[in-house]
Point group: C2
Chain length 384, copies 2
C-alpha cells in the first residue's frame, strides 16, 4: 500500500528516508556481516553508533559538556520516578499541572517527597497553560502551598512543555529563578531551537519526534547529578550519575532504537537543523489552526494563546460527527486523527516527519467534509 499520512500522537511518522536506510542495511550493517539488531553493544562498531547519535543530538541542540546526554528505556513514565529519585535532595519540588502527563508525573513524585502544585488548569479541562498559583485547592494536592513567586528552596520546578493530549504548549518557559527547571519535552523535542541554559533537565520519549518507541533521552546539568541520586533506593538503572559515567551503557541499551534516533538526528541536520524544523512546523500549525478558525463546523479545543505547534486538537462538537470524520479521513489516507479519550474529537499531530503536504491534504479534506455536512448540520440546527 502507498504510504498514508500518519497524524498519530506517538509512536508517530518517521522520515521515509530514515526507514529506507534502516531497511537497506537491516541484514548487514556497514559490511559487518550482521544486523545492527544482532550486534554487541560493546563492539567498536556499535560504540561508534551511540557516540554518533549523542554527538549529532548535541550538535542539533547546541548542548555543552555541562550537560549529560543519556539514553534510557522505559519511556517518560519511568522518568516520572527517575526525576524525583535523582533530584529531590531536600524532598520538595514544584509541579505545574497542565495536563494528564504532568499530573501523572506529579502523582508519581508525591511518592518520593513533597510535590507542591505550582499551578493547575484542570478546572478548565486543561485547555490552557496554567499561571503560577492558578487553580489551587485541596483537590489537587494535600499541600495547597503556593506563592506569588516560586519558592527558591524547591529542588526543581517541573513542567510538561507540550501537552500531547490537550494540544497545549508552554510558549514562554516559566521563570524559576535559580530553581532548576525540569521539562518533559516528549512531544515538542527537536521541533524548534531551545535555550539549553534555561533547563536543569529535559527529557523526551523518542516516539514522537526522534525515533521509535523504547528510547528516552534525558539531558541533565551535570552539577545536579554529581552527588549521586537524591534517594538511596533509586534503582541503579535510573541513577543519572552512574549512567553518565557509563555512557548510557550500565547495561545493554535499546541498541536499535538509539541507532534509529541517530539517523533521525542526521536527517534533521540535513533538513537545516532545528531552525528549519521550526519554520516548517510553524507553517503546518498555521495551516491547520487557520483552517479551524475559518471553519464554521470545526473548532479547536485549546485556548488560542496555548495552542500547541505539535498537536492540534479539534472537534465538531458532535461526537457522532467526529467519529464519522475520523473514519472518512482514514479512507482518504489520513490516519491517526482520533482524539484521546480524555478530550474526544480529533487530534492532528504535526511532528517533524509529517510533511506539509499531509497537512494541506488534511485541511482540504476538512473543507470538503464541512461542505458535505454543512447543509445537514444547518438543517439539524434549525430542527432543534
Amino acid at each position: 500500500m502507498a504510504r498514508v499520512f500518519n497524524f498519530s500522537a506517538g509512536p508517530a511518522a518517521l522520515p521515509e528516508t530514515v526507514l529506507k536506510q534502516a531497511q537497506a542495511e537491516l541484514l548487514d550493517f556497514h559490511g559487518s556481516g550482521m544486523s545492527i539488531l544482532e550486534m554487541s553493544h560493546r563492539s567498536v562498531t556499535y560504540q561508534r553508533v551511540i557516540d554518533h547519535a549523542e554527538e549529532s543530538l548535541r550538535s542539533l541542540m547546541d548542548i555543552s559538556d555541562e550537560y549529560a546526554v543519556l539514553f534510557f528505556q522505559g519511556g517518560a513514565t519511568l522518568q516520572f520516578a527517575g526525576v524525583p529519585m535523582n533530584l529531590m535532595y531536600s524532598g520538595r519540588a514544584g509541579y505545574y499541572i497542565s495536563g494528564h502527563f504532568a499530573q501523572a508525573a506529579w502523582r508519581e513524585a508525591s511518592k518520593y517527597g513533597e510535590a507542591v502544585v505550582l499551578g493547575s488548569s484542570e478546572k478548565s479541562s486543561f485547555d490552557h497553560i496554567p499561571a503560577l498559583g492558578e487553580g489551587l485547592d485541596p483537590v489537587f494536592s494535600p499541600v495547597t502551598w503556593c506563592a506569588p513567586d516560586i519558592d527558591q528552596s524547591l529542588d526543581y520546578a517541573y513542567i510538561c512543555e507540550n501537552n500531547t493530549i490537550f494540544g497545549t504548549e508552554w510558549h514562554e518557559l516559566p521563570n524559576t529563578g535559580a530553581v532548576p527547571l525540569v521539562s518533559d519535552v516528549s512531544s515538542c523535542f527537536l521541533a524548534k531551537p531551545v535555550q539549553m541554559e534555561r533547563y536543569g533537565l529535559l527529557y523526551a520519549g523518542a516516539q514522537k519526534n526522534a525515533g521509535p518507541a523504547g528510547v528516552t533521552m534525558v539531558i541533565v546539568r551535570r552539577d545536579l547529578i554529581s552527588d549521586g541520586p537524591a534517594l538511596d533506593y533509586c534503582p541503579s538503572y535510573l541513577d543519572y550519575g552512574t549512567q553518565d559515567a557509563k555512557g548510557s551503557m550500565l547495561n545493554t541499551p535499546n541498541t536499535f532504537g538509539i541507532y534509529l534516533c541517530g539517523l533521525v538526528f542526521d536527517w534533521i541536520a540535513e533538513q537545516g537543523g532545528l531552525a528549519a524544523m521550526e519554520k516548517r512546523n510553524r507553517s503546518k500549525a498555521s495551516l491547520i489552526y487557520g483552517a479551524l478558525d475559518d471553519s464554521s463546523l470545526f473548532r479547536g479545543t485549546a485556548r488560542p494563546d496555548s495552542r500547541s505547534m505539535m498537536n492540534a486538537t479539534f472537534t465538531t462538537g458532535d461526537a457522532a460527527l467526529d467519529a464519522e470524520f475520523v473514519v472518512e479521513a482514514e479512507k482518504h489516507g489520513l490516519v491517526g486523527l482520533k482524539g484521546h479519550r480524555l478530550v474526544g474529537g480529533m487530534r492532528a499531530s504535526l511532528y517533524n516527519a509529517v510533511p506539509y503536504e499531509a497537512v494541506e491534504e488534511l485541511a482540504s479534506f476538512m473543507q470538503s467534509f464541512e461542505a458535505d455536512h454543512s447543509s445537514a448540520c444547518c438543517s439539524d440546527r434549525r430542527s432543534l
Copy 2:
C-alpha cells in the same frame, strides 16, 4: 558482506528468516501504509501484534493464566530493582551468588531489604554453581546467615540460571520448598522446555534468545503480585500488578522490539518448539565441549558439572594466544568470541539462532589453530 557466524553473548544472532521478514515489511506493515515503527501502540493492528507475541510465548512455554506475561524495557538491570520492590513483602529474600549478574542483583536488592546470601561460588571465580551454604563469609554480606535448608520465611529465593560471563548453568533448580523461586533466565530463555510451576517469577532480557535489546519479559505468578508492589516507592512503571492490568501498556512499550520477539517466538514454534531447540542446543554444546575436552591447547573454564549449554567459555591459558585466536577466528567469519574481561579467554555463545554449522566451523577452526600452534606451544613450554 556474507553473513558471519555470530557468537556474541548478547545482543546476539537472530534467525535470518526473522530479519528478512522484518526487512520486507519495514515500510508497510501488513498493508497499513506505515512502518510498525510508526504505528500507535493503541491501534487495533498493534494490539494484535502484542497479543500475538504474548500468546505465542505462552504456547511455547506452556504458561497458564496463573502467570502474568509482561513486556518491560530497561533490561535485567532494572528488574534487579523491580523484583525486590514488588516481592519483598517481609523485607527478606535469599540470593545465590553464582556470577557477576547474580551478585549485581543481590547488591541491588540489598538497597530494598535484607538480601541474604544462600551460597556463593565467588571464591573459585564462579567456575561452578554454588551449593546452599557454600562460601559464606562476611565478604559477601553484612548478614552471614545461612542454614542447611532454605528458610521458609524468605519472600523469595533468587538465582541467575545461566551465567553468561562464566559459562555456567543451573542444571537442577534448587529446592526452595514453598518459597517462590525467582530466576534470571536471560541467557537460557527458550533454550529448552521449562517447568513453569517451579517458578514464582522468571525474567529474561530478550537480546540473547528472544529478540533485540530493549525488551525484558517478566513471567510472574499472579498471586504474588495481587496485593500491589511490596514497597510503596516502587515506580509505577515497575509495578507488576499495574502492568499486568494494563497488558504491559501502562505507557508506550518498545513496540518494534515486541513485534520482533513475536517473530522469533513464531520461528521457534516452526522449528518444533522448545524440545527441538533443546535437542539442537545440546548437539551444539556437545560439539564444542567435546572439542575442548579433546584439545591439548584449549580448556574450558567452567567446571564440567556446571557447564552452560548456551555460553561455552574457554582459554589456551595464554592471554596473547587467546587474543590471536579471536583475531584469526574473526578473519574466518567467526565473530564475537572474545571472552568477558572478568574471565578473559574466549566465549562462544550458542543461542537458538546460532546454527549447528557455525559450531562445526568453530570446532574445525579450533583444530586447525591448535595444529598451527602446537609446535610453537610445545617449544615455548620447553623453553620455560
